[in-house]
């Protein structure tokens, strides 16, 4: 990379926030999806919006591709700098700028860690609802880029329902201030469009977040099932009965075994084929009524036992097991392929069954831990990436599972995003026109296509876009 550009960046962020040494850049060659890697030419860690804007302006003038990155916990290669260039990290943007208890909102820098925000506002009886499993390390900025979810999104909705405003640095290095909350925007919903855009429209540096009020009553149940099918069916019936738990999570036997053998051991019964972790939040009478309606459903589907968390400590332990499940799988194999698919909630059992068959046919080790309440499946395949043959089988299985899901009305991703991993699979869900419209929107906000190149939009569509196949308005008529 050009020395004058590096010097310019160094002058903005200081020498400690510019990573140029190959050994240090190595840490940024992928996110949590490590099958595809590419080293960035430089890593820049601005401290605030002004520094980010100044850096991005220089990079724009030098026509350098740019990849935003939060904590790098993404699972689809969304932060992998496939075309090299500059990686702009938010690791130093960690300030909680404001907590407004009256209006129940917070303004944070993009690098604030998800769980830190809840810690900061807990004393006011408030919390930030989206709670991905990686919440102890993932950043709010990364959550915005991927429209992240988590178990309690069943009740509270994914990130997009909690983002009230943004400060964005555009690809050209200009600051776009959308931070003032507007519940009824008199204009296009640019904030809604930006959330989930996987860093392809700009870099969010500050986020205005809606905070939720801690519920008066929380009830947590662990239902133990003799089969995974019965567990899935009970979830489908709970949803069909229009009951509204705040979270419904399912874990299968292999996951339970891994969790119980790990530091996350939660007291799940090791002999169970599946467990369902259910949480209910709200007023006392509301929670009691909903639990009363759910229990017979669990019974009808043959639950062996239902355990009730007696206090917040027990509740925390049950959730620690669930949230530590992905980490616990490291005991089984060195690598874990975490698939992320969505199924209609009426077809959970069917699609979980197909995933089991696909993996069994290939001799692959499948475990299931998923947000059953909103149909967000995570069939996880344990493997060793040093075994090329196994890697091929894993990728093939992943694609077949996804295809089966799509054929049954499902979708490619519920919370991890498309990124690099599912880019070409977009053709399986969207036709050429759908993708062209997405490409047009991308072109509108980043005409040079420098923001996070190589993600989401399939390769062929990107090549056509770059060749000028999309209509552009003449400057003179603007």
């Amino acid at each position: 990379m050009d020395h004058s550009l590096l010097n310019g960046l160094r002058a903005i962020v200081g020498p400690d926030s510019l990573v140029t040494e190959p050994t240090a850049r190595f840490a940024y060659e992928s996110d949590g999806q490590m099958l595809e890697r590419q080293m960035p030419d430089v890593v820049v860690l601005p401290r605030d919006t002004a520094e980010a804007a100044a850096c991005m302006k220089l990079l724009h003038q030098a026509n350098v591709p740019l990849v935003p990155r939060g904590a790098g916990t993404g699972l689809t290669g969304g932060a992998t700098p496939v075309e090299g260039g500059a990686l702009v990290g938010t690791a130093r943007m960690r300030d909680v700028l404001e907590i407004d208890t009256r209006d129940r909102l917070a303004r944070v820098q993009a690098g604030v860690v998800n769980v830190e925000l809840t810690r900061c506002c807990a004393e006011h009886g408030l919390f930030y609802a989206p709670d991905p499993s990686s919440q102890a390390v993932c950043t709010i900025g990364g959550n915005v880029a991927n429209n992240s979810g988590g178990p309690h999104c069943l009740k509270y909705g994914a990130t997009t329902r909690h983002v009230l405003g943004l400060v964005v640095v555009t690809a050209e290095g200009e600051v776009l201030d959308l931070s003032s909350p507007d519940p009824d925007p008199d204009g296009y919903d640019l904030v809604g469009l930006f959330v989930g855009s996987e860093g392809m429209f700009g870099l969010a540096t500050e986020i205005t977040i809606r905070l939720c009020v801690e519920p008066p009553v929380v009830e947590t149940l662990l239902a133990i099932f003799p089969t995974l099918d019965a567990c899935c069916d009970s979830v489908s019936e709970i949803i069909a009965s229009r009951l509204e738990p705040s979270a419904i999570e399912v874990m299968d036997k292999l996951t339970i075994e891994a969790v119980e053998a790990s530091v996350f051991a939660a007291g799940y019964p090791k002999d169970a084929e599946a467990v369902c972790l259910l949480e209910f939040e709200g007023g006392e009478a509301e929670v009691a009524a909903t639990v009363d309606d759910v229990l017979p459903i669990l019974e009808r589907h043959g639950r062996l036992e239902v355990r009730r968390a007696r206090d917040s400590k027990e509740r925390a332990r049950l959730w620690a097991g669930r949230k530590g499940a992905f980490g616990a799988m490291g005991r089984i194999a060195p690598d874990l392929y975490v698939a992320d698919a969505v199924a209609p909630r009426t077809r959970l059992r069917e699609i979980v069954g197909i995933a089991t068959e696909i993996c069994a046919e290939r001799g692959l080790l499948l475990s299931n831990v998923f947000h059953a309440g909103d149909g967000n499946l995570h069939p996880n395949i344990s493997y060793d990436r040093r075994n090329r043959d196994e890697v091929e089988k894993v990728l093939e299985a992943g694609e077949l599972i996804m295809r089966a899901c799509l054929e049954r009305g499902g979708s490619l991703t519920g919370e991890h995003g498309v990124g690099l991993e599912k880019r070409e699979q977009m053709h399986n869900l969207f036709n050429a026109q759908d993708l062209e419209v997405m490409a047009r929107v991308r072109c509108a906000l980043d005409p040079a296509l420098r923001m996070n190149p190589g993600k989401m939009i399939p390769l062929r569509r990107r090549m056509e876009t770059r060749a000028g196949g999309l209509p552009r308005r003449e400057e003179s008529s603007a």
Binding site: G187, G283, G414, V418
Partner: protein, 400 residues
């Protein structure tokens, strides 16, 4: 394929042109292919097209219609099929021309209801509500309508048909273009089909109303309700009645919980008038429908804590506030560009001010500057999706 003007006129008439009610010709295609053909024809003839459902929101969404600056109204009212109601998944997919009342009846068979709860649901189409980004008082608990749109099919100005999102309650595949389209007032595309997340019909409804001496007391009461542990479905403060200010709180949910919340609120804030069941639903509908009797001229929105400060700036006007979200509807008066500019200056800088039922020149006075900030991004999006400006609105975003 482009039809000639005379050929097209014949086809338009066959499809039900409503010239008698509108100064403009109205094309009401019966399927998506016809709709795309209309747009291609309009492009070839350089007609200015205004998408609509049944026309109920044109006055504030597309003020150029009243100003005589449109050429053709394109109604989706004949695209009125329910595509898929999946009770087991709590989702609904329907064409844009379905009315909200028809959709409400459909999903009620499975124990579901639709948000938003808007006035005159029998003459509000799904496409119209989404295009306008119209939320109802139930946004207090459920959030605005754009939170519950799961996916859309649209036709762009050049006739391209495209979808975004899907029919699932959780899905992050691709850009959330349906959120962009919701509230875009037909300036980016014509929404032809959409999928919605549904909600259970509550077991019980109740309404509590307090009369207060002034706005400050009503807002303070509303704050107390928000902090009480109750979770209102709706909450509005208004001074529509001659009696003065009123706080209206709608509760909905599990029967025992609503009973507890009614008792709790009555004890915490004595003096409320309580209505339950059908009477409560009728009362909530009455408050929801106030705008039918007095058109909303302006809408203020922003942080809830700005509510009182904003109300002081508009003292003497008739208003309806949703204090939890801080959306404040200001009912009609003789606003002019000068009065709204003065109001803009008087309001806190982070309170947004938008035009509703006002003269076109007032809309122009409040239109965003398309050369700066979010106006620039809005303009870039409009120009990419509609390069010829076929669907463009002069004030949304303002085009230079």
């Amino acid at each position: 394929m482009t039809a000639s003007a005379s050929e097209w006129q014949t086809r338009l008439e066959a499809q039900g042109v409503e010239l008698e009610r509108s100064p403009y010709p109205v094309a009401a295609p019966e399927d998506v292919n016809q709709l795309a053909d209309v747009l291609r024809f309009a492009a070839s003839e350089k007609l200015r097209v205004v998408p609509t459902g049944l026309g109920g929101k044109l006055a504030w969404c597309r003020p150029e219609v009243a100003a005589g600056e449109a050429d053709l109204l394109l109604s989706t009212r004949r695209l009125d099929a329910v595509i898929d109601y999946v009770p087991g998944d709590g989702t609904l997919t329907a064409q844009a021309g379905c009315t909200l009342s028809a959709l409400g009846e459909t999903v009620a068979t499975g124990g579901h209801r639709i948000t938003p709860d808007v006035p005159r649901p029998a003459s509000a189409t799904l496409g119209g509500v989404l295009g306008a980004g119209q939320s109802g008082p139930d946004r207090e608990a459920l959030g605005p309508v754009r939170h519950h749109v799961l996916g859309c099919h649209v036709v762009l100005a050049d006739g391209t048909t495209a979808k975004s999102g899907g029919r699932l309650v959780k899905n992050v595949t691709g850009f959330d273009l349906h959120r962009l389209y919701t509230g875009s007032r037909g300036t980016l595309c014509v929404i032809i089909e959409a999928s919605l997340r549904l909600f259970p019909i509550p077991e019980e409804d109740a309404v509590l109303e307090w009369q207060t001496a002034d706005a400050a007391e009503a807002i303070a009461l509303a704050d107390a309700v928000r902090d009480s542990g109750a979770r209102p479905r709706t909450m509005t403060v208004d001074n529509v009645a001659e009696a003065g200010w009123r706080l209206h709180v709608g509760l909905a949910g599990r029967r025992k919980q609503i009973a507890w919340e009614c008792d709790h609120l009555a004890e915490a804030a004595p003096g409320a008038e309580l209505q339950e069941g059908a009477a409560a639903r009728a009362r909530s509908a009455h408050v929801r429908d106030l705008e039918l009797h007095a058109p909303v001229a302006l809408r203020l929105s922003g942080r809830p804590s700005r509510t009182l400060q904003a109300l002081q700036s508009i003292e003497g006007r008739t208003v309806l506030v949703q204090p939890g979200a801080f959306v404040c509807d200001v009912f009609a008066a003789d606003d002019t560009p000068e009065t709204v500019r003065a109001l803009r200056t008087a309001l806190p800088s982070d309170v947004h001010l938008a035009a509703r039922h006002v003269a076109p020149d007032v809309h122009t006075a409040l239109a965003r500057d398309a050369a700066t900030g979010d106006g620039r991004w809005m303009r870039a999006l409009a120009e990419r999706l509609d390069p010829e400006g076929l669907l463009a609105c002069p004030t949304f975003p303002r085009r230079p």
